[in-house]
Amino acid sequence: MTALTWPQELAIRSALALTVVAFLLGLFSVMTYIERRLLAFMQFRLGPNRTGPLGLFQPVADGIKLFFKEEFVPQAANRWAFIAAPAVAITTALMAVAVIPYGGAVTMPRFDLLPEWLRGRPIPLQIAHLDVGVLYLFAVSTLGVYGIVLAGWSANNKWSLIGALRSSAQMFSYELALGLSWVGPILLAESLRIEDIVACQAGGIHRWNAIIQLPAFMIYLFAATAEVGRLPFDLPEAEAELVAGFHTEYASMKFALLQMAEYVNMITVSVLATDFFLGGWHAPLVSLQSAAGVNLGLLWFGGKTGALLFLFIWLRGTLPRLRYDQLMRFGWKVLVPAAVMHILGTAAVILWLTR
């Protein structure tokens, strides 16, 4: 297999990126439908079931509706910032996806249609192989604050502003615990590459970080839920207090973009949980990894991610919302110390074992 020239490399990466983004956007629209239906079932309702069979076309209808709504900017708003905010939000949300592996490598078929250098080449399902992938994720997730702050501030509306401040403070607080919960798996894998962390968990369920790093996994789940602002941590959008938080003034496509950013974040967080703690595309038992000569990695990966997404919806249907001071106290006084202690413990055990 010859090495690739940089235009070829660029082409592969671009195609991958386009695929991933398209897939994410599709998943977003499906998720809106699934979430509404599932929530409805949990609450003994039916949910949207009119548009198309079982209401399956509901996301399409929503999309069309949002697309044709009037573009509106409040008079007192800072116009440019108001328009830029959703773009920033969705951009940062999509940027995070770049370094996440989605399940092993896919070998290109030997079709004549394909150019010579593509035939039979295994392509890893990951857009960028970054040496500091985890750090990059952390960086991008910190950037996510900008979209929210901008959106809240530019609307010149006190609900928006308070919502944005709360939201950003919450994200800051839980980002710390989120980042610290990754350190355990990083220590085990001795690498900042996400694919290394996944590889480190190969070989069965007992190697998964969810098992041997259970406290980190718990911390990650708490922090991630808060990070994406889902119940029970959806204080920024506490409609009883803040109308709708930072996106109160948004409508039409800009609202759709913000919404999309949130869902993409949720999906990202689930994918990350799969990669970091649930063994990525590795099956719980080695014998289940492939069937009839076909590698089932992608399937396992999708299944785990789906389960986590379901968990988020389940939480939303079950739990009440926290108070703001409870939220902050939990983040700073419970999660962060616990994460630090866990890191110390992990480091000590590793040192002791490799002595």
């Binding site: 800072n78 040496d131 750090l135 910190t142 950037l143 702050v149 502003l161 401040l165």
Partner: protein, 163 residues
């Protein structure tokens, strides 16, 4: 080739955004321009072979410092700067000094000999960490953590509303 194109694009972006930082009338505009500078610098670090510094630049600067700036700007509701006032003689003097500095250092830069890639350069996270946690820097590194705690306490003490 791609590297060169990318570098010049980023350099031009950074430079013009830096100008915008200085020339913008509103503090918020300056802040956004600065964010652009920071992000393009981060990319340049990546080009220069330091992915770790590139990401750290984003995490610390774009992720923390600039958000802090934005918070303060938003909280204090900074109005547009009043033009004029103050000693006028500043502008020529400032420009003169800055120009002199550029000339001097530029002269050094032109005359000097850079020796790039005399040895294979390893800017990976591992190499970086090995150097950082070596005997030479580990105490400095620990000292910076003390510095951060001190800064944190100082900031709290300063910004707290006194009763």
């Amino acid at each position: 080739m791609a590297e060169t194109i990318l570098f010049y694009a980023l350099a031009i972006t950074a430079f013009s955004a830096a100008f915008a930082v200085v020339l913008q009338k509103s503090a918020l505009g300056s802040a956004f321009a600065l964010i652009v500078v920071l992000c393009s610098l981060s990319a340049i670090y990546g080009l220069l072979g330091s992915p770790i510094l590139a990401t750290l630049q984003i995490v610390i600067y774009a992720g923390a410092v600039m958000v802090l700036f934005l918070f303060v700007i938003m909280l204090l509701d900074v109005r547009r700067e009043k033009g004029g006032g103050g000693p006028r003689s500043f502008v020529p003097l400032a420009l003169l000094f800055a120009g002199l500095l550029v000339l001097q250092v530029g002269a050094v830069l032109v005359g000097s000999e850079l020796v790039p890639q005399s040895a294979p350069f390893d800017g990976s996270a591992k190499a970086f960490a090995r150097r950082l946690f070596s005997q030479d820097y580990v105490y400095v590194f620990e000292a910076t953590s003390v510095l951060i705690v001190a800064a944190l306490a100082g900031a709290l003490a300063l910004a707290r509303r006194r009763r």
